[in-house]
């Protein structure tokens, strides 16, 4: 049900998601087959929405692009694409080139695959995907790129290696903290003796991706993003997959470790050990903030606003680990019945038992109405149990709401325009600590 306008969309288009996903792999050079402004538009978007994410190796205004014009739209753009690829491989050094189409070239039906085939026959490492913006959001673009890599780049390996896994479900750009989130989980899983391929972090390599076909398991730290790719991987490379909500903080992360361990038959003494030592380390830090938490009465009612991944993960962390009161969880994707079932399942089993009201709302300015509807309004009574003390975790678009209701505000979800993000991540035990640091820093910022 995404057949409606959206106010200030919290997503790139499919092409934007695809360009950022491709560009997140070290050594990959995207080649856009689009109108001239698509590359610039995505870049102008990403800088102010993704924690000041720069162009990187060959993104931003440097991305090779066919820049099709009116005459190409009329007569077809494949000749221009062929010329662009020919010159790109002469001029721009890449280990893998990924052609990504835009709205115009998808609508006119340019056959990019036959163009790409000609270059592959010349032993040029090139693949492609049809990622026209109208095909969906940035999450869709992520899936389309991952899928073409799975279908056309990853080598088939019938022999699986028991300790190797691929980790997906965190979407570059849509999640401004994707690198930190992947790094935290890789570090954690390696403590279980696993070799982890995360594909899209600064530490990943194309070589690693190419050889990821012998993984024993694909782990999606999302109940909804990357499923098509995981299915494709299962069909082509015979690797099963599991899904799990984005694990933030000790409660979710412990469950995550147990699930991975059980699926992979990891010795329970090893996983118990990891959980115990990580958990105790986590609480040695938290111990030192317990004073202020209690002296300053740091518990808050909270509104969480974000995509499927973050809205659930943040709500759980805040309720179960931090002892906060998530009253309203706003999922900014369009409603989807299948996905809704999963969300409700996840939120129904909060160990704190706290119940949040879940709403689907794509439009930033409407969030306040949902809160007004949810929280009993004042009738002018002298003693009114108001929605305070309060906090809002969402995107920078929620700052206005936070000011209106006198709440603290932290930007975590897209768009992230009031924070700079490099290594920070919120997943795992370490991520929980980062989140505590960031949330409580807001509470003390005026001191």
């Amino acid at each position: 049900m995404n057949d409606r306008f959206i106010e200030r969309p919290r997503s790139f288009c499919a092409l934007g998601g695809a360009m950022l996903t491709a560009g997140a792999i070290p050594g990959v050079v995207p080649i856009l087959h689009t109108a001239m402004g698509c590359g610039g538009s995505i870049y102008w978007n990403q800088v102010g929405s993704t924690g000041y994410l720069g162009a990187g190796y060959c993104g931003g205004m440097a991305v090779p692009s066919s820049n099709v014009k009116e005459k190409d739209i009329i007569f077809g753009g494949t000749e221009r694409l062929a010329e662009q690829i020919e010159n790109t491989v002469k001029l721009v050094e890449g280990e893998l080139y990924i052609v990504l189409t835009g709205c115009m070239t998808d609508i006119i039906g340019d056959d990019i695959h036959s163009v790409i085939r000609e270059f592959r026959e010349r032993d040029i490492n090139i693949i492609g995907a049809e990622t026209g913006g109208f095909k969906g959001d940035g999450y869709k673009g992520y899936d389309l790129v991952l899928k073409t890599i799975i279908e056309n780049y990853i080598e088939k390996k019938p022999q699986k290696s028991k300790n190797k896994v691929n980790l997906w479900g965190i979407v570059p750009g849509q999640d401004a903290f994707w690198r930190g989130n992947l790094n935290n989980l890789r570090a954690l899983l390696s403590k279980l003796g696993l070799e982890v391929n995360t594909f899209f972090s600064e530490s990943d390599t194309l070589e690693g991706i190419k050889n990821s076909g012998d993984a024993a398991l694909n782990i999606l730290v999302s109940e909804v993003y990357g499923i098509d790719s995981a299915e494709a991987f299962k069909d082509i490379h015979s690797v099963p997959y599991i899904t799990f909500q984005l694990p933030i903080g000790p409660s979710a992360t412990e469950e995550f470790i147990r699930k991975v361990s059980s699926v992979l038959d990891i010795d329970s003494s090893l996983s118990d050990n990891v959980i115990e030592s990580e958990n105790s380390l986590y609480y040695r830090y938290v111990d030192r903030i317990a004073d202020t938490y209690n002296d300053q009465d740091f518990q808050r009612y909270v509104v969480v606003v974000g995509d499927w991944n973050y809205s659930v993960a943040l709500t759980r962390f805040l309720a179960d680990d931090l002892g906060w009161l998530p009253e309203l969880t706003v999922i900014t994707d369009f409603f989807d019945e299948d996905k809704d079932v999963k969300i409700n399942e996840s939120l129904a089993k909060l160990s704190s038992g706290y119940k949040t009201k879940v709403v689907y709302e794509t439009d930033a300015s409407e969030v306040q109405y949902h809160l007004s509807r949810h929280w009993p309004q004042s009738n002018g009574q002298k003693f009114y149990d108001s929605f305070s003390p309060a906090f809002v975790i969402g995107s920078h678009l929620e700052r206005q709401l936070a000011v209106n209701i006198g709440a603290g505000h932290l930007t975590v979800t897209y768009p992230v325009g009031n924070r700079v993000v490099l290594t920070r991540g919120y997943t795992g035990y370490m991520g929980g600590l980062n989140l505590i640091e960031d949330i409580f820093s807001v509470l003390v910022a005026q001191r």
């Binding site: 995404n2 057949d3 409606r4 306008f5 959206i6 200030r8 969309p9 997503s11 790139f12 288009c13 499919a14 092409l15 934007g16 050079v29 856009l32 689009t34 109108a35 001239m36 402004g37 698509c38 590359g39 610039g40 538009s41 995505i42 870049y43 102008w44 978007n45 800088v47 102010g48 162009a55 931003g60 205004m61 440097a62 991305v63 090779p64 692009s65 066919s66 820049n67 014009k69 009116e70 739209i73 010329e83 662009q84 010159n87 002469k90 001029l91 721009v92 050094e93 709205c103 115009m104 609508i107 026209g132 913006g133 109208f134 095909k135 969906g136 300015s365 206005q400 000011v403 325009g417």
Partner: protein, 505 residues
Amino acid sequence: MNYIDEKVAPKREERLGTCVDFGGSACDLKKKFKGGCMKNNDRGFCQGSICQLLPGLSMLNTIPDSVVIVHGSLGCGGAGHSQSAAVRGRQMLGGSTNPRGTLWLSTNLNEKDVVTGGEAKLEEAIIEADRRYRPASIIVVSSCVPGIIGDDLDGVVAKVQPQVNGIILPVHCEGFKTKVMATAYDAVYHAISRNLLESEKDKERIYKNEIEEATEKIRRSKQVNLMNVSSGTPGDEKELTRLLNALGLEVRIFPCFAHPEDMKYATQAALSISTCPTHDDYFLKYLKEKYDVPYLLKYMPIGIENTNAWLRDVAKFFHLEEEAERLIERETAELELSLKPIRENLKGKKAMLSSGEVRTLATAVWLKELGLEIVAVRPYHYDEFGEPALDSLIEKDQELQVNVGTVQPFETANIIEKNKPDIYLGHNSDNVWAAKSGIPVLPIYGGPNTYVGYTGAFDLARGINRVLKNPAFNKNIRKNVRQPYFSNWYTDHPYKYIVQEDENL
């Protein structure tokens, strides 16, 4: 000008023969442009660029009390997230303690809409935007997709306008239709001209008596339009207002940050003053033709000489020559005193510049006055409006290297490696590619700085002086991060991929 009667503004390559692909000497550029044979030049290798939608949105997102509806697929309006920062800044300057930033909708055209059309969705978005936000204007901007699936933007607007309170402005910004992003300025001015200059509320004022009428007439005789299409910073506006106020003129700034209901005042001014000819000619010529508001369109007031010339032009119109000379004398005397130690430092330093045509060339003229050497200029496009500044540069250096291209940083990288400038002044989002070459960078517009007038002349000089003091950051980037090009690119000709039309024939 009959353009305004048409639904869509013409593209610049047709209206002005504007060129975006050229590399060679300044002299050669002038000669070839005169021949009119450059608008069909091309590149065999391109990098993602800026289409007319992007500067269009930069302007439209600033209009207060309005909603921008981007009619297209989900991603087309996304720059609005970033543009929100500047808009919020202005809203705060205007006194808001909880500014909203940009307010825009996407019609989110999907696979189904591409087949069945997006008009119904646009209708719904307009009606809902009016109901929800009660804006003074609803700005509907079409991106590529509606242009190819055949949505009738103007038809939808005509149909829905009677049902809504906000004035609807259809703006045609289909990216694939023009190579010249500056067409955006015309597209936006076109929509303003067609929809906001004569509203129902704009009846003649009723005067109490003749004295009041005469007083108003005198006031208007000193009222000027000052144009800013969003690249002017708050500091820029403040500086030019200061200078014009010093001559006793009353300044109103259009179109960015001007309220839609105030746009009509542009028709009442005694004079329109452009700050950048390549931005404003379309609108100012229309104001002249339709409302008899004369205009000045020759100079961009960057650096002392250009600011003097700009002021003298204004003064001449109002017969304030003597006052202008006194102002110029006062300003330049103080300025020269402060510039003295900076000039010493900057003398002989080599600079390269890139951004919109007039800004690039005018800033280069100022840098020459400051004693810097210009190794190359990269205007984003070139047409007749660049000529006065180009002529000033040619006077001193006929062979000055000019590379016309909208962004295309692979050429920048090549030129920098060959010419080793000490400093680069460039356009937002393009600067990083010079930075990766290891040289210090000063943005050529935007941010917290002032670029125009005497304050701007000083700000540019001290800015260059400042960034030269410690280039360690960019040096480290160069040492540790590589550009994506094969090393042999740097020994190739920088204009290797530019296809000149005359060679094509």
